[in-house]
């Protein structure tokens, strides 16, 4: 299976603290890659490096088989949609107006706006300013923004943050449908094992900035069948977390 994202010894140091430590990641095309780790493990920093929002101190990134550098950055980002940390929006505008701005910059047709609003079920919220949205609605708008160009690669950083159980299920079902529906590869990060277990085809587990495991959850469980998945996860992340 083709590799769509590959990092090699990716490192990021902030004020003498190693946030991401020699991280080598491999994401296969058409799969949902769950990027799992406790809070502060380096997930968001890694994803930001994949988008060029943060410069790695060391290491390399390859996306769509091309080196992710200053020369290729924007042309590669053209095929990537993202939601990093918290949803981005202009609170004084409506959801449609927000998406219209992004669509204008990316030179996308208006029908994309209609389709993504429909997909995330915000199509009825035409007159409401985003500042009046609930957390869940803002999160859905963030996902809509990421989907707007129907990218080849979708990067979602904790997309179910702040959602109620119904909202979590809705977003989960949406993410699961994306590879088949839109031929997308999805990287989704979370600190919740149960979420990733239900979503992801492949998993990368990060703790203390280091990749502790990469593969499927089934293979992880097979490593020690006497333990539950939670116990294995804590074993992998707890050791590093305490350092």
């Amino acid at each position: 299976m083709k590799e769509i994202v590959r990092t090699d010894s990716l490192t990021k140091i902030y004020n003498g603290t190693i946030c991401v430590n020699n991280l080598s990641m491999s994401v296969k095309e058409g799969r949902i890659y769950g990027f799992l780790g406790p809070n502060g493990a380096g997930k968001s920093t890694t994803l930001k490096m994949l988008l060029g929002l943060v410069r790695p101190g060391k290491g390399s990134i390859e996306i769509f088989g091309r080196p992710f550098d200053a020369k290729n950055r924007l042309s590669i980002l053209h095929d990537i949609g993202s939601l990093i940390e918290s949803p981005s929006y202009y609170g004084h505008l409506t959801a449609r107006e927000n998406l219209k701005i992004l669509a204008s910059i990316l030179d996308l047709p208006d029908k994309n706006i209609d389709e993504v609003l429909n997909t995330v079920r915000l199509d009825k919220q035409t007159g409401k300013k985003v500042s009046a949205f609930s957390m869940g609605m803002k999160q859905r708008l963030g996902i809509a923004s990421a989907l707007l160009s129907f990218p080849k690669l979708l990067i979602l950083d904790e997309p179910t943050n702040g959602l109620d159980p119904a909202g979590i299920q809705e977003i989960r079902e949406l993410i699961i449908s994306l590879p088949l529906r839109y031929d997308m590869t999805v990287i989704v990060s979370s600190h919740l094992l149960s979420e990733i277990d239900r979503l992801a085809d492949d998993v990368g587990i990060i703790a203390g900035g280091k990749m502790m495991y990469q593969g499927t959850l089934d293979m992880l469980h097979k490593q020690d069948e006497s333990k539950s998945l939670e116990e294995i996860f804590i074993g992998l992340t707890g050791k590093e977390h305490s350092l």
Binding site: K48, G52, V54, L74, S82, S86, P87, E97, I101, I105
Partner: protein
């Protein structure tokens, strides 16, 4: 770039940024409106305005710059939009489009206040016709330092999420700029700070004024214009633009 400028216009919907700028401009115009000028002053008022207006500009233009730059840039900080924008367009173009849009608002306000200043003069019965060449020079010497101040405010407002940094630095700069006008014996002070250039480029002097006679025997004279400092200011503008753009490009989001 045109697309990004169009987006800047779309983003400012319901933010009333132009209205805020026009309110500050209106406040400035209220201040300079010739309510009660004596006959002695009216006779030489066209020149009198050129003498007084740089001080007014040194107070109001930086304030206007702070407000416009802060409101334009805060729009991005509030909803954490910079990280979204940075994956759709080059960061340098984001810097440029916001700067051009802000400068367009500033230019509109400056030209509007310039037109109203001349209109006030005719309305109040200033003696003779407006000295067009001198008023065009005054317009140029208002636009130049305001551009420098705006580039500074824009950069600080875009780099720092907390707009207090922009306001604080702008207020300090304005204070020193105005203060330097009252210290002619320290010309280096106003030449060092961009806020002081409203005074550096001031080309009208007052002579013969006394407390007893006031404007009876006073006259205003056009002084020698030191174009060197105009070009120094242009170089400062270019340098601040290049530095500001680089700093924003290198900023991690």
């Amino acid at each position: 770039m045109i697309r990004l400028l169009k987006c800047e216009f779309m983003k400012t919907r319901r933010r009333y940024i132009l209205i805020s700028a026009l309110i500050v401009t209106a406040a400035m115009l209220l201040w300079i409106y010739p309510v009660r000028y004596g006959e002695d002053f009216l006779r030489i008022a066209w020149m009198g305005y050129l003498y007084e207006l740089p001080l007014i500009n040194a107070i109001f233009m930086p304030m206007l710059s702070m407000i416009v730059a802060s409101r334009l840039c805060d729009t991005e900080h509030k909803g954490a939009m910079l990280k979204q924008l940075a994956v759709t367009a080059p960061k340098e173009k984001i810097y440029d489009s916001k700067l051009v849009y802000g400068l367009a608002i500033m230019l509109f306000c400056i030209v509007l206040s310039w037109i109203m200043t001349i209109a006030f003069g005719y309305h109040a019965g200033f003696g003779g016709d407006v000295p067009v060449r001198l008023y065009l020079l005054y317009l140029l010497f208002t636009i130049a330092p305001t551009t420098a101040v705006y580039i500074f405010q824009h950069t600080v407002s875009l780099l720092f999420k907390n707009q207090a940094a922009a306001f604080f630095s702008g207020i300090i700069g304005t204070f020193f700029g105005v203060f330097s006008m009252f210290l002619p014996q320290l010309p280096w002070l106003r030449k060092t700070l961009i806020w002081g250039y409203y005074s550096v480029l001031d080309f009208v002097g007052l002579f013969g004024w006394t407390k007893e006679d006031r404007y009876k025997s006073a006259h205003f004279e056009v002084m020698k214009i030191d174009w060197t400092f105009f070009f120094v200011l242009i170089i400062i503008c270019i340098a601040m633009y290049i530095i500001g753009r680089r700093l924003f490009k290198g900023k991690e989001l």
